[in-house]
Amino acid sequence: MSMSATLRAKRSAGSRLSSADAKARGKVFHVIAFWAFLVVSIIYLVPLLLVLVNSFKGNLFVSQTPFALPNSESFTAGQNYTDGLQKTGFFQALGVSVFITVCATLVIVLLTAMVAWYIARVKAWYTSVLYYLFVFSMVVPFQMVMFTMSKVANVTHLDNPIGMIVLYTGFGAGLSVFIYVGFIRSIPIDLEEAAMIDGASSWQVFFRVIFPILRPTAMTIAILNVMWIWNDFLLPYLVIGSQWKTIPVAVQSYMQGTYGAKDMGGFMAMLVLSIIPIIIFFLIGQKSIIKGVTAGAVKG
């Protein structure tokens, strides 16, 4: 018997003997870990709670005593939410954000699935060129095209919420096409062939055969795009910012505004209301969001 084998035999005997011990130690560990995570989680949520608490305090108290809970002097009830929000133009921004995010996401989910199917199934030089162009576009930082894109949008009259759908579809297509193509290539082509022999048009093959199979991937793409478009700042700021403000643009322009004193209480209320839709979105779709984000990352 060699040295290492003897050692191994000794060790495993030792570990068997102490297995009850190890179990007890594991239990203690789990209890300690639970309490540690509880504390860390609460600390993790402090930033959000702090904004919430301050949204019920008067303007001056937000910057002077940010850590204090509201008291009879600083408490303003819902005043920040009524007066403050008007100044920040929150509700118009909410409308613009919802419109652009929902419409652009739906368009991207459908149109990029179509082009991805075409790229994955048609063997031709131009489909691979198109594919590599889309992949290439993923690496390019927005600063590279920020000025020229807003000029193009201006000349082609895309500088409005409907035009934004076109811009998001174009600039965001890369990642979506990449994920869709990867998935479609893993689907056996037999189904499509069978449907075509049965006389289905390509339109029917796409909507009756392919798109239903793509549903989990479509969900991933919808979630990734909602997260991107809802939070995107620079593109809407440069292209439509002077007339239509999305939530991030409204938040930023309120803080950059040079006229008069800023209403910090109102601003806190605005931050709270801009986070609430995100929390609702998260609570409703937590499982699919985490699944979508993981799948998107692994395929991307």
Binding site: F67, R121, K123, P141, T148, V166, G170, F233, V251
Partner: protein
């Protein structure tokens, strides 16, 4: 091949709509941007060719571009390491049978859904409050505050996101491999470095890539947290390009040249990182 032939003629229906959007929003702006970086311009129509002048001026004249690039590099190195170490550690702990682990996972993931501008202002409030209480100073006092503030912010934002990907990776390690290590009596440290980490090289590649490209391109958080204060010292490359372009007078050409350099830099770093970590991946 039948399918290929069958749908080939439907290019206008399936491919053209996205392709047109792509031309308008990416191909034309990208080509124009490349061209304009060699010109002097204010609008597009008055562009006059100046050769490499803008590229030279990007490094010499404004001075701040190199400093901002250096800020971005430092910030990226620190954040990529901290975010991934923390994300990996939390993932290792929260794949054990700890009570309430799903709630903890959700708490860590939540900040990732909040956008950079809102995140920036939330942390401006907190960090200013802390600095005020401790030193009677605020974020505009020193670029060091801005730097570490940004690191803390990006950790808060991305640790949960990386944790989720690492958890998926840990769950994909075949249990028999871990059991074999246990039977061999491997200590935890050996199991971690000789079994778990090599088996998770795929997740590590993805997470490093995501944190790397997000940190290099960081703009919104930087703008909202400090906007470069004091005196553009806490300004990353993306923010610098924006300022040179829109806030300085008649520097659009230089700004565009900086954007091209920045793009090449990001692309090269991302490519090198993918090549380096992909080579370490093993199959289960």
């Amino acid at each position: 091949m039948r399918v290929s032939h069958y749908i080939k003629k439907w290019f206008p229906v399936f491919a053209l709509p996205t392709f047109l959007c792509f031309i308008l929003a990416f191909i034309v702006p990208f080509a124009m941007g490349l061209y304009l970086s060699f010109t002097s311009f204010r609008t597009v129509n008055d562009a006059t060719w100046v050769g490499l002048d803008n590229y030279v001026r990007a490094f010499t004249q404004n001075g701040d571009f190199l400093a901002s690039l250096w800020f971005t590099v430092k910030f990226t190195v620190v954040s990529v390491i901290t975010v991934n170490v923390l994300g990996f550690t939390v993932a290792m702990l929260l794949t054990r049978a700890i009570r309430g682990r799903n709630v903890f996972r959700a708490v860590f993931f939540l900040p990732n859904l909040i956008g950079g501008i809102v995140l920036g202002y939330i942390w401006q409030l907190i960090l200013n409050a802390i600095l005020q209480a401790m030193f009677h100073q605020d974020l505009t006092y020193s670029a060091t505050y801005g730097f570490w503030g940004l690191v803390i912010l990006v950790n808060w934002q991305m640790v949960g996101y990386m944790m989720v990907i690492y958890i998926a990776g840990i769950q994909n390690i075949p249990t028999d491999v871990l059991e074999a290590a246990d039977i061999d009596g491997a200590r935890f440290r050996h199991k971690l470095f000789s079994v778990i980490i090599p088996m998770m090289a795929g997740s590590i590649t993805i997470c490093t890539f995501l944190t790397l490209s997000n940190c290099l391109k960081m703009f919104d958080q930087n703008l909202a947290l400090t906007n470069g204060a004091p005196q553009n010292q806490s300004e990353g490359a993306a923010l610098n390009i924006f300022r040179v372009f829109y806030k300085l007078r008649n520097q659009q050409g230089v700004g565009q040249a900086e954007a091209v350099i920045f793009f090449v830099f990001v692309a090269v770093v991302a490519y090198l990182q993918l090549r380096a970590t992909r080579s370490k991946e093993v199959d289960a």
